[in-house]
Amino acid sequence: MPAMLRTLAQKLGMMAHGFHGGVHPHERKLTAGMPIEDCPLAPLYIVPLKQHIGEACTPLVAVGDKVLRGQKIARAEGYVSVPLHAPTSGTVVKIEEHPVVHPSGMSMPCVFIEADGLDEEDHSLERMTNWRDLDAAVLRERVRMCGIAGLGGAVFPTFIKLVQDKKNPIQTLVLNGIECEPYLTNDHQMMLEQAEEVLQGMAIIMHMVGAESGIIAIEDNKSDAARVMRQALAENSELAHVHVAVLPTRYPQGSEKQLIYSLTGKEVPAGKLPLHVGVICQNVGTAKAIRDAVLLGKPLTERLVTVSGDAMPRPANLRVRLGLTLRYVFAQRGLEDFENIQILHGGPMMGERLRIPDVPVIKSSIGLLAMHQDTVMQAHPAEQPCIRCGHCSQACPAALVPNLMADHCRNEQFDKAEAYNLFDCIECGACSYVCPSNIPLVQYFRYGKGQIAQLRREHDFAEASRQRFDARDARLAREKAEKAARRSRVRKELAPAPDKDTTTKVEKSTNDKAEES
């Protein structure tokens, strides 16, 4: 009975404050409390032309160009895009395809910069110390041109979220310091060491979006960070309507939509942005980057990276320049031999497994984990049949039914998978984590989503082709009619004998056909 009552109480508790489901993976925060260290500079930097969600950038530099740190080297294309900047001073040596962080192991165009070792900065952006008097649009443009995208790992261009919308005024800014992935501690350490800078960033964002209140969300396994942030808040008179919320440690507490629900009880409607419920959510690292962009005029050229994993000789929280290769960063912490090692980009729950360490650090590199081959393999044993235990739907933070959805994806019944809300899956991996049959549910969902996208692309292409084909048909018919009309006019003028006319017509039309086909 008590067990049942506890379960019942938990369920009721969840309804009151907390998202549906969730899991408790081993935290393994090896680097908790380790001070941030600077990763040494390297001779070569590789900057992939797409590091955010959205359109890839177009390079603005050519081979042989000298660049300064922070200089714009690629411009944004389209709305959902942000520019890229040189991570150090040096010379552009080549622009070509290179493997990047991607599950396919495929390559994309990258700008290669050979460092000159001087690390000279581009100071062309002025410091906006008077940001309180500046218009939100000016600050927003600054955030965009500094290349800032969500540094919690999603890398959605930040400026897009920083809007003042009359219809949906933003009341609350949520600063996300949850960091619920195992191993990762960079947000944690940033709150401990740079609380003031983070709060400055928060103040700037609140000014930009006109938010009245703010919440700094921290999981209860980081009580020291909560203490430090509370203290910093107490010393900051500007942020009177900001408070620290300590939430129970539960994965994926840090997922934007789940976090908003935990804090406010509001659900972001499917397919909408949080601003539809008057909330915006920013990662603590993003807030710090916004602060640097506005107060110091510094574009995004570095980020904090947790370098860890069970095969990592000397784990650390590092400040790493974007563009350094993983191989180089690992080597700084004593890992040079990658035999029997699996590299994960990000945390173990949502990170990508990389095949080679020669890819560069990018804006989404929240963590670089070196794992023992066996550890990763144990998480991916052979799939067994689903016993329908329902643990996946109990764990799902989006309240989906993963096992049934996976069946539909596997059987290519994509319409049914969509009807089961496939596109509300946030791919957090909680379902696969609890599955006793080791079914790679997330991969089935990614497969389904990919296939649906591909089918849509093909359908749109076919539709466009059909329209062009029809248009061409219509044009040919029109041309033919015009030709025929012209000819008959000419013939009338010449006034030939009626019997001869018929034969010519037949001949002509045969010729026409031959010409067309």
Binding site: F19, P103, E267, R388, C389, S393, N403
Partner: protein, 352 residues
């Protein structure tokens, strides 16, 4: 090289094998009570069912060209234990073996093996046995410590002879060693126009005995206490959730309460329903069998209510005194439909 493996790259460590083992452990108290009540006969029955289930599963796996190590998932062993606990101690060995073969072949493997079966394998086998051998499946031995019986089931050789050759081997008449189950007794009396209270009286029915398990019935279903201990263990281990057992038992209690208040002479009281027959065994162990029960919480509640209504209805109006297994098997058919219509409201779809 095109091999892409998706996150998560961590796993909680749950396995099918452990899940099944947890259920087996949860059934141990009930199994121990069955040995206490039916001596060696219970041991023989459990061993015979488990072994023949494992053997049948091995043969099936072999025939289908699947790896034999699948046996280690414990599902066949669990099916055997389940089946044994739902059988009367009086049945001959071949009936137990036949039931085990039914359970594995017709209950599970013909559908494609573990995870694909529509019905609970053990229960479907038990239903087949009950329909095929109505007499053998409803002769309840007088348990030890309950009443005077001509059969000493603690005597190894006597029990073995009974198990292998039936009562004739010991020159025992069935009447001297069997008794009616409470449900059966009430049903029989009712057909002769005797009311529920009087029937219970003539049976010397005691709620305490029923709770502890000192009554006639299938070997594993008699003790509510032992089953509840196992059920709570399953809940505590999160192997099952509260939805099915509570909806199921709650529905039976509610219906029984309402009707026994309306007409106590016609309808058995709720507590009698609770302790009698296989209700608790079915509610905590059979209806919660993951493969053949709904996945979603709401679906599980609907399923539990359906089981409850059917159990009570079959017991009250049906030709068979006990309806729990029929109820579960019938509701198993409805599971795909229930699952489709009882999906939880996904995040961001309606609601506040």
């Amino acid at each position: 090289m095109s091999l892409a493996i998706s996150s998560p790259h961590a796993h909680g460590g749950d396995t099918i094998r452990m899940t099944m083992l947890t259920v087996i452990i949860a059934l141990l108290p009930a199994a121990m009570v069955s040995v206490y009540l039916f001596g060696w006969l219970a041991v023989f029955l459990i061993v015979a069912c488990m072994l023949s289930c494992l053997l049948t599963e091995a043969v099936c796996l072999r025939m289908m060209g699947r790896p034999l190590k699948t046996l280690l998932d414990n599902s066949a062993a669990l099916t055997g234990l389940f089946l044994a606990l739902t059988l009367p101690a009086s049945i001959p060995w071949w009936m137990a073996v036949l039931g085990s073969v039914f359970a594995i072949v017709l209950g599970k493997q013909v559908y494609g093996g573990l995870g694909y079966n529509l019905f609970n394998p053990a229960l479907s086998a038990r239903v087949i046995l009950l329909i095929s051998f109505p007499l053998g499946m409803t002769s309840w031995l007088i348990p030890m410590h309950v009443g005077p019986s001509a059969l000493n089931m603690y005597d190894f050789s006597a029990a073995l002879a009974f198990f292998l050759h039936g009562p004739e081997a010991l020159k025992l008449g069935l009447d001297a060693i069997t008794m009616a189950s409470p449900l059966g007794h009430v049903k029989t009396e009712w057909t002769q126009g005797i009311g529920v209270a009087e029937a219970l009286n003539s049976y010397h029915y005691s709620y305490l005995d029923a709770f502890l398990g000192r009554e006639a019935g299938s070997i594993g279903e008699t003790s509510a206490l032992a089953l509840l201990i196992g059920g709570i263990y399953l809940l505590a281990r999160h192997t099952i959730t509260w939805h099915i057992p509570f909806a199921y038992i709650g529905t039976v209690l509610l219906l029984a309460a309402v009707f026994s208040v309306i007409s106590p002479e016609h309808y058995s009281p709720p507590m009698f329903h609770l302790f009698a027959g296989g209700l608790i065994l079915c509610a905590f162990f059979m209806a919660t069998d993951p493969v053949s029960s709904p996945v979603t919480p709401l679906g599980q509640i609907v399923f539990g209510i359906g089981c409850g209504v059917l159990t009570w209805a079959i017991r009250t109006f049906g030709g068979y005194p006990e309806g729990a297994m029929f109820a579960v098997v019938l509701m198993n058919c409805a599971v795909p439909l229930i699952d489709h219509y009882c999906r939880p409201r996904a995040y961001g779809h309606g609601g506040s």
